[in-house]
């Protein structure tokens, strides 16, 4: 089976300077891949490169076989990629349901199946569908953000630090939802600060440092790697 994400030797950054110095990432269908690494390693930047949010000056990015390198974000959405930013990832003054509706903005036709699917993944949200997203707790907001992205039924879901600032309880819940989402056939790529927990739950992981690949392997392999442990897992 071909990879959903095939990103090779990507070089690029926001302005003149290159933050990514050659990053290679792959993700197979229905796989959870996590990117970890110390601060400033270029984790979030690598993710934004996939979504067309920075200047890619070298390398190629393919999604499900199609070259998306350098495309505008809305074209990348059409290619089946959805992105959940780390902050400001909901419409605060819109209801939960309207947030989901905005997620499906590009879709036409009957959306009831898509709503059912998302509300089945996030039962909490169904209860609060008429509440304003800005009035929800941090964990619930993260669910709204993920739900919004899932409304397009993407092939690839990009999550930028979905557990940042959440309590361990919510972190576990988010991870469980990621597994559920994966089991519906969606590939998930996520960036995580909580490296230990993330590697334990992901199918595979990449360790980035200084804008380049450092290690890759299954979560268990990376957790067992002494170099990785010494780098940032802090023993």
């Amino acid at each position: 089976m071909s990879d959903i994400l095939d990103m090779r030797d990507v070089v690029g950054g926001y302005g003149e300077a290159d933050i990514l110095q050659g990053v290679t990432l792959r993700a197979a269908p229905s796989e959870i891949v996590v990117i970890v690494g110390p601060n400033g390693a270029g984790k979030s930047t690598a993710m934004k490169a996939i979504f067309g949010l920075l200047h890619v000056r070298g390398g190629t990015i393919r999604v499900d076989g199609a070259d998306v390198t350098g495309l505008e974000p809305n074209r990348i959405v059409e290619a089946g990629v959805c992105y959940v930013p780390q902050v400001n990832n909901v419409f605060r003054e819109m209801t939960v349901h309207e947030n989901l509706e905005m997620g499906a903005f590009l879709r036409s036709g009957d959306l009831s199946a898509a709503y059912d699917r998302v509300y089945a993944l996030f039962p909490d949200l169904k209860e609060r569908r008429k509440a304003l997203a800005g009035n929800l707790s941090g964990g619930q907001r993260q669910m709204v953000a993920m739900g919004r992205a899932l409304m397009l039924e993407p092939k690839l879901l990009l999550l930028d630090e979905p557990t940042a600032g959440l309590s361990p309880k919510y972190m576990e819940q988010i991870f469980q939802i990621c597994r559920d989402v994966r089991d519906t056939g969606v590939t998930i790529l996520l960036v995580e600060q909580h490296a230990k927990q993330a590697l334990a739950f992901a199918d595979r992981g990449y360790v980035l440092a200084s804008g380049a690949n450092r290690h890759e392997g299954t979560g268990a392999e990376l957790l067992a790697d002494e170099d990785v442990a010494a780098m940032f897992l802090g023993g």
């Binding site: 926001y14 302005g15 934004k48 949010l53 920075l54 200047h55 974000p73």
Partner: protein, 327 residues
């Protein structure tokens, strides 16, 4: 006497250019250095004009004044008064984005216009203030004009040197740092609103001085002397065309715009009355269009802000533009 007429006209123009140059320097401190949008230039100009007029004219029954003070005191008073008006406005608005200052300064200019028009005890209302002394006003016409030109040139030079020195000083560097990257400047521990307030008051005081220089040249002032919107806008187009952030550019812009503005007035005044009125508004339309064209095709102006020392607000923000900014 054609020749003398031409000289007289040139001197007249030069004096106005000098006065507008003071306004443009004041605006350059506010917009060019600090990124503050003052849409009430005419208001500060009027405050300066009336303050100096009230301080220096002889006693007239029915209104405040008759202080008969020396002209330089009037000028100083004009700067202080304009600065004092700027202070509370700046205090309230400079915490917020410059849009709010733009609206508030439009309001200030409007209120000042209302006060000037309706407070007879202060400004003699529609009849205006007359007999305003002019330094060397007793000389023959041409000599008197030349003498006043020399004074205006002297004041302008002093203001220019002062502003240039401020620009090169740590204060100026700090102002540009604040303008180009407020977050970084704040992180450096600079008191951003206070610095902006300084720039706003300083710039407004220069505008008040411009008003004072005008009033002693004109010798009378009435509420109709200046069309607030056109006067304010002229100063803006002068600065933007000349090059905001560059004091020489500001003065060059004043000269270019003022010459276009006055020469086109001579042309339109010769048209038959019916067309002359329409032509007057056509000039206003074209000056508005000119701003759009400069903003689009030469936003840095004729003389751009010197590179390396700092960047224009536009350039700075373009570089810092986040990749997902709207549109």
């Amino acid at each position: 006497m054609e020749w003398l007429g031409f000289v007289n006209y040139a001197v007249f123009m030069a004096i106005f250019i000098g006065i507008y140059a003071l306004l443009a320097l004041g605006l350059n401190i506010q917009w060019g250095y600090t990124g503050l949008f003052n849409a009430g230039i005419a208001g500060f100009f009027a405050v300066g004009a009336y303050t100096s007029a009230i301080l220096t004219t002889p006693f007239v029954p029915g209104r405040v004044g008759g202080f008969d003070l020396p002209v330089p005191v009037g000028w100083l008073g004009a700067m202080v008064a304009a600065g004092l008006i700027a202070w509370p406005i700046g205090k309230i608005c400079l915490r917020l984005r410059s849009d709010y200052l733009a609206i508030a300064t439009i309001g200030v200019a409007e209120i000042i216009r209302l006060v000037v028009k309706s407070e007879g005890w202060l400004t003699n209302a529609a009849r205006g203030i007359t007999n305003i002394p002019r330094p060397f006003g007793d000389l023959a016409y041409t000599m008197s004009q030349l003498a006043y030109l020399a004074i205006v040139a002297g004041v302008l030079l002093a203001a220019y040197l002062l502003v240039e020195r401020q620009f090169a000083s740590p204060w100026g560097r700090m102002m540009r740092a604040i303008r180009d990257n407020e977050d970084a400047a704040r992180a450096m521990g600079k008191d951003v609103p206070y610095r902006r307030l300084e720039a706003f008051i300083f710039g407004s005081a220069l505008m008040g001085l411009g008003g004072a220089l005008f009033v002693h040249f004109n010798r009378t002032i009435t509420p109709e002397a200046i069309d607030p919107m056109v006067a304010t806008f002229l100063v803006w187009i002068m600065l933007i065309l000349g090059g905001s952030g560059n004091n020489r550019g500001a003065i060059l812009g004043v000269a270019v715009v003022w010459i276009i503005w006055s020469v086109s007035e001579i042309v339109t005044d010769r048209l038959p009355h019916e067309y002359a009125v329409k032509a007057k508004y056509l000039r206003v339309f074209l000056i508005g269009l000119m701003l759009q064209l400069v903003l689009r095709f030469r936003p840095e102006g004729l003389l751009p802000e010197p590179r390396g020392k700092g960047r224009r607000p536009e350039a700075a923000a373009q570089g810092a533009r986040p990749p997902a900014a709207s549109d």
